[in-house]
Amino acid sequence: MTDLGAYAVEVMSAYAVSLLLLAGLVWVSWRRAVKVRRALEQIEGPRADG
């Protein structure tokens, strides 16, 4: 583990906040993409829109 010295809390919290926000954004975007795609498939049939 790299030594962050006196600023360990600041650096670690900056990384934690950023990575959580990025992971949340990807997860929400992916989940909605799957949900909407399935809903359209139910209406039109699979692979209707490519």
Partner: protein, 246 residues
Amino acid sequence: MSIWEYANPKKFIATTSPVLPWVFGAAGLCLIGGLIWGFFFTPEDFRQGSTVKIIYLHVPSAMMAINAWAMMLVASLIWLVRRHHVSALAARAAAPVGVVMTLIALATGAIWGQPMWGTWWVWDPRLTSFLILFLFYLGYIALWEAIEDPDTAADLTSVLCIVGSVFAVLSRYAVNFWNQGLHQGASLSLDAQENVADVFWYPLLVCIAGFVLLFVALVILRTRTEIRARRIMALQARALREGVRA
């Protein structure tokens, strides 16, 4: 072949289907590689100590916060001039990505500012214009949600995007305009004397590439979702009309 062919929703989905996994993969590689490189394999700065490692998140996210709005501006102008629905939907799709980038820039900036400046926040030109840009993002998203007719929503949000562009530009150049406040000038410069040292610059470059690729991947994914959601709305409206006629 014209670029406007990709404004066709079906063509957009067909073209982006094979590309999307590669863009996500490249984004993941650059982000993970760049952050590991910067976090574990770069030295401390002689003045800022280990807090310099926050640069690998703060600078790329701040860049993308401004560039996302610039992309939304171009897409909005295309909508207003040429009325291509994909461009309006792409602008809508980019807004939540931009708001998260702005939030990361604000949060990491505050966390970095506390030990370096002795304060989490100051009403400095760059910080203030960034906060206003964040509020514009929220307003833009809220306006899309508030208006039922999609074309009216696209028109009004496009106008809001043009107005908000003033703050996107201010966020970038506030330090130069007012030449005051705590925030330093640009970390990146073509002038080798002004640019960050090479040991920080190369991993930072990889992280910037990662953020750009992640933005592109998310906007493509979210635009495809918006196109499908719009198609569902159209089919439901058609079914309703036919039901009323019958």
